[in-house]
Structures are given as C-alpha cells and as structure tokens.
C-alpha cells in the first residue's frame, strides 16, 4: 500500500492548511469588525484583500482537486458518514467560493471602492443598487455563520474519528507526511 493512496497529495494538504488559517482568521476578523469602533478600519482593510485571496485560493484548490487522486475513505466510515462527508465537502467549497463573491458583489452594488491595497482596487461586478447591497449584506452575515457551523461540524467529525474511533483520520490531511497509515 503506497502512502500516496492513504494521504491527500502534498499540494492538497498545503492548500487545505493555508485556507484553514486564512478562513479562520477571516471569520474572526469579520465577526470582530462589525462590533468594533476603534479597530473597524484596520480590520476592514485586512478583510477585503484577504477575502479576495480566499476566492483565488478556493479556485486553485478546486482545480487542483479535480486533477488529484484522492485517498479512499477509511473503512471505519459508514455509508452514511461517507455521504455526509461528501456533501459537507461540496457545501464547504460552495461557501468558500460564494462568500467572497457576495462580499465583492455587495460592495459593488453600493459602489464602494473595492480597495485591495494602495491604489489597487477591483472593478464592480454588479449594478448600482442599494437595495441589492442591503440584501447581499444580510446574506454575507448569514453565509459567514453557516460557514462557521460547517467548520465546527467538520472539526468535530475529525476529532471524533481521530480520538474516539481512532482510525487516524487526521493523518490523511496532516500537514506533514505520514509514511504508513
């Protein structure tokens, strides 16, 4: 049995952990900035370019996944768990793709300048409409909470498998190379 078949590929693991760090940072910044007065501007100035970075990363990650060979599910996973894992992966990919687009779209609809850094800014992707902005602004919050809940479910499932079922589920995505599973 080769190690490659038991662990996700190096590029998949690298992208997974890079996105784990950026997305968790982003969720923290997002939920903190909306309640902050003094740190609001600093946080928003990180939030915008980081969101665009996540959008780029999720596209790279999706393409990379299409061209990668995946390790099989561990035998410890029941058919129901496999189905849940499959659909939650689709949900996470969808949220990671849609959430930054909604952010970009809502700023576009309000005709805010979408400044990344310095004088570099993005073009608007939606027509000017404050009603549309208001709807997307609500959606942005809702999707962020959904993303956080999806993360908690994902995190909890990995902990359960690794610590209770003890099937070394974590090793499949461990940042380091695991020789034999």
């Amino acid at each position: 049995m080769t190690t490659d078949r038991q662990q996700f590929t190096g590029s998949m693991r690298f992208l997974h952990w890079l996105m784990a760090a950026t997305v968790l940072t982003m969720l923290g910044i997002g939920v903190a900035m909306v309640t902050s007065l003094g740190e609001y501007h600093r946080l928003v100035s990180i939030h915008r370019p980081l969101g665009i970075l996540i959008l780029i990363l999720v596209v790279i990650r999706f393409v990379n996944r299409l061209f990668s060979t995946l390790p099989p599910f561990p035998a410890t996973m029941s058919p129901r768990e496999r189905s849940a894992a499959h659909w939650s992966e689709i949900l996470l990919y969808a949220l990671l793709f849609v959430e930054p687009l909604v952010g970009w779209g809502m700023l576009s609809a309000a005709r805010y300048p979408i400044v990344l850094f310095g004088s570099l800014h993005l073009f608007p992707i939606l027509p000017h409409s404050v009603m549309l902005y208001a709807a997307l602004r609500r959606a942005h919050t809702l999707l962020a909470y959904l993303l956080f809940l999806a993360f908690i479910a994902h995190f909890g499932a990995i902990l359960f498998h690794t610590l209770i079922v003890r099937d070394r589920m974590f090793s499949r995505m461990a940042p380091w190379r695991v020789r034999a599973l």
Partner: protein, 374 residues
C-alpha cells in the same frame, strides 16, 4: 455503538489493531468530554470576538440604535444629517498638493465631484435653523478609478474627542417627554465629565455662523496623513474656504420659511456656480492629531491646493449622492488616516447607518425635485 473489530484496510500488526479499536467505558467518556470542551472553546472564542460577552461595549449597532431612539427613525434616511440636497461640480487642482501627497487628485487637472449639503439632526423634515450644524459630503472621482470621500461640517472644532463622548452627548440631549427639551442636569453632568467639549464649544461660539450654506467654511476636522511619493507623511487638516463673501446672520434677516437655508442655496447655485478653495493646514511636531476638539495653533503653514466648483443642484430623490456613504476613510493612495479615534468610529457608524437605510423604503425628501427647478 460501533463495532470494536473494525479495522483499516492497511492494518497489518497487532498493535495497530489495538489502536484502531473503539475506546470503551471511562476512557471514551473522557475523550468525548475533551472534544466537547475543545468545540465549546472554539465557539466561545468566536462569540467572544463577536462581542457576545461584552453587552455594554459601545458598538456601531448600539450607537445607531441610540441615535434612532433619541432622534426617531425615518425610513430610508441617514440617521444623522438626515435633511439634505445634492450637488455636482468639479475640483480643479493647481498641483501644489503634490509635494505633500502622491494622491492623483492633487496633480494638475480637473476631477468630477458629487456631493450633498445637509443639516445636522435625525429628522429629515426638520425646519432649517441657523444654529444647526451644516454639513457637506463630497466624493471626488479620480482618473485612475480611485475615490476620495469626505464629510465636513461648518464648525471650527468638533465638540467630541471620541465616540464615547459623542454617544454620551446623544444620551444627555434626549428631549424630556414633558418639556420636549433636554434635561439641563443631564447636560451639565455630561459637560462636567467632558471638559474638552466645553473648550470646543467656546471656540465654536466665537465663530458666528454665516448667513447660508454658500458662504460657509467647511472643516474636515480630523487630522489625516498626507503621504508623498517617497513615503514621507505630513499631518494635515483640510478646510473649504468659500469664494462667496462672508455675510453675518441677520444682515439678510433669517426667514421663518421651513427650508430657507436650502432654498437660498438652490437659488444661489442656479444663479452662478459656487466656489471654495481647498486649503490644507500642515501640522507640526506636537500638534495633536488624535483630538478633533483642539484646533492647531494659529500660523501653521497653509497650502491652497485648488478650487471646488459646484454648479448644479438636485433633489436627493433624483441624485445618486443620496446613496453615497460619505465615509471619511474612503481615501485615495496618498492620504491615510491619522491616529484620531473618531475616524475609524465614524467609518464604522456611517457604514451601520448606510446599511440600515439602504434596505429601507425611500420616503420623499423635504427638498423635492420641483424645489430645485428654476
């Protein structure tokens, strides 16, 4: 309960078989509890960052809630400076600002401007008053697609040093249910706690307001950093000084008409374009940049960087300026925020106000499209 004999396909040794077997009994409970604690800690950290454990913290939501509670809530209108009229024009830069800032707006040339004159207060149908704070929000659209937005007022000093002081003032100025006037005791207590407000009010009182919008000086109030091409920055405050000559209140006689200030502005702009000079005041070492209640000392170097011309006027109902949030931190590269705590707070609170009104039904403005026609 899962089967204890389940194995990974790769299992080959007895020790791995042992490891993969499901834990039973006490050890399993301890691990489950551990997972529970970790999950709760992550959720707790998320809620903590979101302010769930600090209900008394001053947030943009609490700030705007208080504004609505005291001033009332008017669907589709700004929560403060609710009454207004929109204008268009351009800014002619003379190039003198380029030595202080690399911002494209200061290169020689013309930049289109859209703006909005307003009166302070949450009621969009309030009667015009000479003592009301006059506001001017502007958006400069730079040739490289950048924007510069600023929201200025006609006071030479801002009465509040930070968002908490502003909030406390809103609370203290709530009209009494019976007298319809603010409670003098509450206001006195506020002033006793905020001596900087008392000092700022002295300065404000020494500058009598002019007869109208067109001959008002508008102050940017907060300090900013102007960053040049080398990355060197200078503390700057900006002012719009009217070309229209100052006229004291009373010279023309204050009208009792509900919209007399706006009507006069409309008449004036329809007669001839209105002009202001954009004057930068350069701060020196030691001049406070984090306290808008304190003007800088007299004699600071001033640079006239160009002139603003406003040549058309529109009702909010037809102008895109109604839907612009004049967030003072929408800045081009070359202008950065200072350490003034009001700036980030203004940005956060304006955004909250904007988000609320954006989703509401837009009610007709006090200054209607027919009011702005000749």
């Amino acid at each position: 309960m899962e089967s204890k004999s389940r194995q990974l396909p790769s299992d080959s040794t007895a020790s791995t078989k042992k490891q993969t077997a499901l834990l039973a009994g006490r050890s399993r409970m301890v691990r489950l509890a551990g997972i529970g604690v970790v999950i709760l800690a992550v959720i707790g950290a998320f809620l903590y960052l979101g302010g769930w454990f600090s209900p008394h913290k001053l947030t943009p939501v609490r700030f705007v809630d208080e504004f609505e509670r005291v001033n009332g809530r008017y669907s589709g209108f700004r929560r403060n400076h609710a009454k207004g009229v929109c204008v268009r024009g351009f800014f002619d830069s003379n190039g003198r600002g380029t030595r202080l800032s690399k911002a494209v707006v200061f290169r020689i040339g013309r930049v289109p401007v859209i703006g909005r004159f307003s009166l302070g207060g949450g009621d969009p149908h309030a009667s015009d008053e000479l003592s009301a704070v006059r506001g001017l929000g502007l958006q400069f659209s730079l040739s490289d697609g950048e924007q510069w937005r600023t929201a200025m007022i006609n006071l030479p000093a801002f009465p509040f040093k930070d968002p908490q002081a502003f909030y406390d003032n809103v609370v203290a100025s709530e009209p009494d249910r019976n007298t319809h006037q603010p409670d003098p005791a509450k206001m006195a207590a506020f002033l006793a706690n905020n001596p900087e407000t008392v000092r700022a009010l002295e300065i404000i009182k020494s500058h009598a307001p002019s007869s109208g919008f067109d001959n008002s000086t508008f102050y940017g109030l907060n300090a900013f950093r102007f960053v040049d091409a080398q990355g060197t920055w200078t503390p700057v405050r900006w002012t719009l000084v009217p070309v229209q000559p100052y006229e004291a209140v009373g010279a023309t006689g204050a009208s009792q008409d509900k919209n007399f200030l706006f009507d006069a502005l409309i008449a004036s702009i329809l007669q001839h374009p209105l002009q202001w000079h954009l004057i930068l005041t350069l701060g020196q070492l030691g001049d406070p940049t984090n306290d808008a209640t304190v003007p800088w000392p007299e004699g600071r170097e001033q640079v006239d960087v160009g002139s603003l011309t406003l040549d058309s006027v529109e009702s909010e109902e037809t102008s895109p300026a109604r839907d612009i949030n004049f967030d003072p931190l929408v800045l081009p590269a070359g202008i950065s925020p200072s350490d003034d705590p009001l700036l980030s707070a203004r940005s956060a609170i304006y955004s909250q106000s904007f988000t609320r009104r954006a989703g509401e039904t837009k009610e007709p403005s006090a200054i209607t499209p027919s009011d702005v026609r000749k």
